[in-house]
Structure formats: C-alpha cells, structure tokens
C-alpha cells in the first residue's frame, strides 16, 4: 500500500523537521510512553496510530512542549523543544467552538497570525490578503464570513487547520481530527492535508485510532501500543511480527479489499478486548 507520492518526498526528507529520541513519560506513577523514537522529514505525511489510551495525545503534548518528558529529547528543526514557537502548528482534539462566539471564520484564521502577541490587532490589507489566501488553501472561502460556532464539524476543522497554517509552520500536528467527523468529511480533510503537505511542504503528523482512512496518503506510520512505538513505512510497520512485538502478544494483520485489519491472535487470552476494539474500528472505516 505504498503511495506513489512517497517516492519524491523521501528524497527531500534528508532534513528532519522533527526528531523524537528515547522519549519516556510517566504520569502519576504510570508509564505512558516508553523509549519512543521516530523522525519526521520535511513535507512528509505521518500517521500516529494506536488504540485509545495508547499515549497519542501525551506524545503530541510532549512534541508541543506542553508536557515535559521524564527522559529523552524532542528536537524541532534541530532546536530543542523547550521553547514553544510558531514552527509547529497545532489542531487539538475536540475543539468546541461556541455558537455564541462573535468570531467569523476569517477572524479565527487571522488570530493565527499573531494571537500570541499582546495588544489589539490593527486591520491591514496584508493581513486580509494572507487570511484570504489561507482560506482558499483549505477551501473555506465560501464560509469566511460565517460565525465559526455555526459551522459543521468538517468546516470547523478546515478553519482550525487554516488558523494553524497561517503562521507558516514547518510541522503541523493534528490530534484525532477525524474523531467527530462523518466518513465523507473525514476523507475530505485527509485529502486536504495531503495536498497541503505536498504543496506547502509542511510535515503533517496526525493521530488517529484507525489506520485505513490514512493508507492512501501516509508516507510513514508511527504505531503506538502499550507505550511502545514502531515507525517506518506502512509496509514495514503494519506487519504481524512488528505489531505482535509492540502489543506484547500475537496479533494478525489481515488484508481485506485493500484495507488492513489488526486482530488479536486466537491463542492470546488477554488480547480479547483488542480484537473487539479493532474489529469495530476496521468495520467503521
């Protein structure tokens, strides 16, 4: 299931945008992440896949500098991730935009330019032009003047992506952007992100609990399970032996009509809930 676009990108990926090295995190005495290692190259589309509770959000928070790892380092553009910057764009999980929030889509995108600075923004032609450009890039021009709270889930995602992209980050992190979307909106968002990764050379790291919707566009996958991570191309990672090692018990990888199903092996006792979990997920894809 390699994508044909993976080839030209792999060449350009000589400079890594993100390097996560031996990152471990324990929260309240519980080991959430254990020696996680992977890199993301410029303009690459990387899926961060794992069941619920695998530590995806924690890992993203570490990359953002919002969570300090117990050990290990995170470097963004070869700089240590202790200082937060505009080099990383972020679309968090389940942002609920209040229908009463007096903000149009274009206002929210504009806030992405300099929302972290003090003071009141002054309107300018350049700002307006930048916002229009960005709304065009995410195909959101038609609802630029609508209150963000009145937009659908997929439309809000587009606006939030534009908000995150307008400061021209080299890396875009999205936490479960498909969680609240119907299948069609989800596919549109993935296609959009893949386009952005290619055209604007922004590396995309997107977390999801299901691998199938991402298969057509992913250059690389980081698979998280039980605090451990395996990374590589989808072919390298979505393998029975790799995932079995990750989960700590036997799992099978089945290919059905171009889709992948990860199911716990028949002999494994403790993995029964996993079977149910993934069977449902695969079914919904």
């Amino acid at each position: 299931m390699t994508t044909m676009t993976a080839q030209p990108r792999a060449e350009a990926a000589a400079t890594d945008v993100l390097a996560v090295e031996d990152v471990s995190v324990s929260l309240a005495g519980r080991q959430i992440l254990d020696d996680v290692c992977f890199t993301v190259g410029a303009g690459q589309f990387t899926g961060l896949i794992g069941p619920n509770g695998a530590g995806k959000t924690t890992l993203l928070r570490v990359i953002l500098g919002l969570q300090r790892p117990s050990s290990g380092t995170v470097t963004v553009l070869r700089r240590d991730r202790s200082r937060r910057s505009t080099a990383v764009g972020y679309v968090p999980q389940k942002v609920l935009l209040d229908p009463d929030l007096p903000m149009r889509a274009c206002d929210l995108v504009a806030l992405g330019i300099d929302g972290h600075r003090f003071g009141i923004p002054l309107p300018s032609k350049r700002r307006a032009e930048l916002v229009r450009e960005m709304l065009h890039a995410v195909d959101a021009e038609r609802f630029a003047g609508t209150r963000v709270g009145n937009l659908s889930g997929g439309e809000q995602q587009r606006v939030l992506i534009a908000h995150a992209l307008i400061s021209r980050p080299r890396l875009l992190l999205l936490d479960e952007p498909l969680a609240n979307l119907d299948l069609r909106s989800g596919q549109e968002i993935i296609a959009l992100l893949a386009k952005i990764a290619t055209e604007q050379r922004v590396a995309v790291l997107l977390s999801a609990h299901e691998v199938n919707p991402l298969l057509p566009v992913m250059d690389r996958v980081v698979y998280l399970a039980a605090g451990h991570a395996a990374s590589g191309t989808t072919q390298e990672v979505i393998q029975a032996d790799v995932l079995s090692k990750l989960y700590g018990h036997h799992v099978d990888v089945l290919h059905v009509h171009g889709r992948v199903l990860v199911v716990a092996g028949a002999a494994s006792g403790p993995g029964e809930d996993l079977t149910a979990d993934h069977a449902v997920e695969a079914g919904s894809g």
Binding site: G65, L66, L108, P216
Partner: protein
C-alpha cells in the same frame, strides 16, 4: 414641543450637579463594563463576575464600617477575591464553579457580618441599602478622578491582553501551544474583571453589578458576529441604558404625589433587561429564516487523484 421636552427632561435635569456627576461616572463605568462584559460572556465566566460582585459587597460593607470610601472597598476586596478565585482554580472549567462558589459564600458571610456591625453601631442608617443596591446620585464629585483612573487602568489591561485572551477563549490548548502565558493572561483578565465589577458596584450597587456587566455584553453578542463590534455595541448599550436610567429616575421624583423618587439602579437595570429582550427579536427571526446551506458535493475522484498523481 416645548411641553414634550419638559415632560421628557424635567426642569433642572441639565443643570443638576448630581446628574452631571452621575452621568460622568455612569458613562465611564458602562464603557468599562461593556468591554470586560464581552470577554466575560465569551469566556463563560458570568457566574464568576457575579461572585466578584458579592466580594465587592463585602468590601464595600467593610469600608462602610471602617469609614473608608466605598469604592476603595469595592475594588480592593474585589481584586483580592479575583486572586483567590485564580488560586482555587478558576482556570480549569471544572474548578470554576467550585472556586466561584467558595469565594461567593465567604463573601456573603463577610457582608452579613459587616453590615450587621455597621447597622448595630448606628453610624450609617442608609449604608447597607447604599452598598447593596447603590445610588449613582449620591456619589460625590471627589470620587470622579478615582473612577476615571480605574476605568483607564481596566481598559489598558484588556487592550494589552486582547489577542492572547481571545486565543485562550477559543482554545486554551492552542493558546498554550502557541506560547501564550495563559496563567498571566487569565490573571490580567481577572484584574480587569475585579475593577469593572467594583466600578459597577459603585454605580448600581454590589448586588446589581452583574446586570451592568453582563446585560449590555449579552445584548451586543446577540447583534453582531465580530468581537470589535460586540465591544462597541456593548459600550453604547451600557452608556445609553445608564443615562436613560438616570433620566427616568430623575423624572420619577414628579411621578407620585409624595415626590419620592424611585431608585436609579432599578431603572438602569430595567433598561438593560429591556434591551436584551429586544435584541432577541432579530436573532430569533434570523434563526427561523436561515436557510440551511448544504455543502457543495465533492467530486468522488478528488480523494483518489492524489494517489494517482
């Protein structure tokens, strides 16, 4: 024509010195409350604003007992209360109700004590009424500079915190990831809120202070979909309501045979409430007639085209 004029503006309205002071202070307070109120409603902290009103009441009662200026008590204890709420956890949405409830309860208890002692010592007969329900006509001209200074301070704080505050309102996660010092931003907002509520307590009384803070802002948010316009509208509505309330209260001296005027705070709050109800009419119409825009169909080939590219 002249008769109508004198019927609307009772003789002496424009020459009365208490009216001048009231209009000046009321106008300044309404502007500050308009700006702060929009952020308060957007952030869903109306209940917090109300709790600070009760803290102001305790401060005002304490000042009354100690023989100090009520404004000092209103604003001073309000700022302390805001700090306490921040410490208890007003930042976390879950901790917000708790922080507010605890501070509110403690404040009302203090008010009860101070007002009891103030009435008991008998030094001030109308004091409790004054603190809780206010009368902008009794504010002394000497208070004007302090009111203007505090108003400018609150407006300056909000102007500085404007953008990060908006970003934090949209999503605290995004704000933190962008490097916004969310704790500092939240504290600046709470400071502006405490000053606004203190000023509002002086104008319409501590109990009614929330009305002037939330009413015009909530009305404005019904009318516009832009933050800047909402702030401008909230200020205009607040100033109009305050001045109209002052006029009605002034006129009310001639309404009854006893020439006993009705409370000015009542009129201000009544106008604010009426404005809120009126603003609901266009909003309700808009939602009824709003066509549901269907998203344009996406050609099925769009997703696959990337794989083929």
């Amino acid at each position: 024509m002249h008769q109508l004029w004198t019927w609307v503006f009772e003789p002496g309205f424009f020459t009365s010195s208490p009216v001048h002071v009231a209009a000046g202070i009321g106008g300044a307070v309404a502007v500050v409350c308009g700006v702060t109120g929009v952020f308060t409603v957007m952030r869903g902290q109306s209940f917090g604003g109300h709790a600070l009103g009760d803290v102001s009441a305790a401060g005002g009662s304490g000042a009354l007992l100690a023989g100090l200026s009520p404004l000092l008590g209103f604003v001073g204890l309000g700022i302390v209360g805001a700090g306490a709420m921040d410490l208890i956890g007003v930042r976390r949405v879950r901790g917000r109700d708790l922080a507010t409830g605890i501070v509110l309860g403690a404040a009302i208890g203090l008010s009860a004590l101070f007002l009891y002692l103030a009435t008991y010592t008998g030094a001030t007969s109308g004091g409790p009424q004054q603190i809780l329900f206010g009368s902008i006509f009794t504010v002394t001209p000497g208070t004007l500079p302090a009111v203007m200074g505090l108003s400018l301070l609150a407006l300056a704080v909000l102007a500085v915190a404007w953008r990060p505050l908006l970003l934090d309102t949209v999503s605290p996660d995004i704000a933190a990831a962008r490097g916004v010092r969310v704790r500092l931003t939240g504290l600046l907002y709470m400071l502006a809120l405490a000053i606004s509520v203190g000023l509002s307590s002086l104008a319409v009384g501590a109990i009614l202070s929330t009305a002037l803070l939330i009413g015009p802002a909530a009305t404005a948010l019904r009318l516009t979909k832009r933050v800047g316009w909402a702030v401008a509208a909230a200020c205009l509505i607040g100033v109009a309501a305050t001045w109209l309330g002052i006029l009605l209260a002034y006129d009310s001296y001639d309404w009854g045979p006893s020439h006993q005027g009705l409370p000015v705070s009542f009129f201000i709050v009544a106008v604010v409430f009426a404005a809120y109800l009126l603003a609901g009419i266009p909003a309700a119409r808009a939602t009824r007639h709003q066509p549901v825009a269907a998203p344009p169909a996406v050609p099925p080939g769009e997703l696959d085209s990337r794989v083929a590219a």
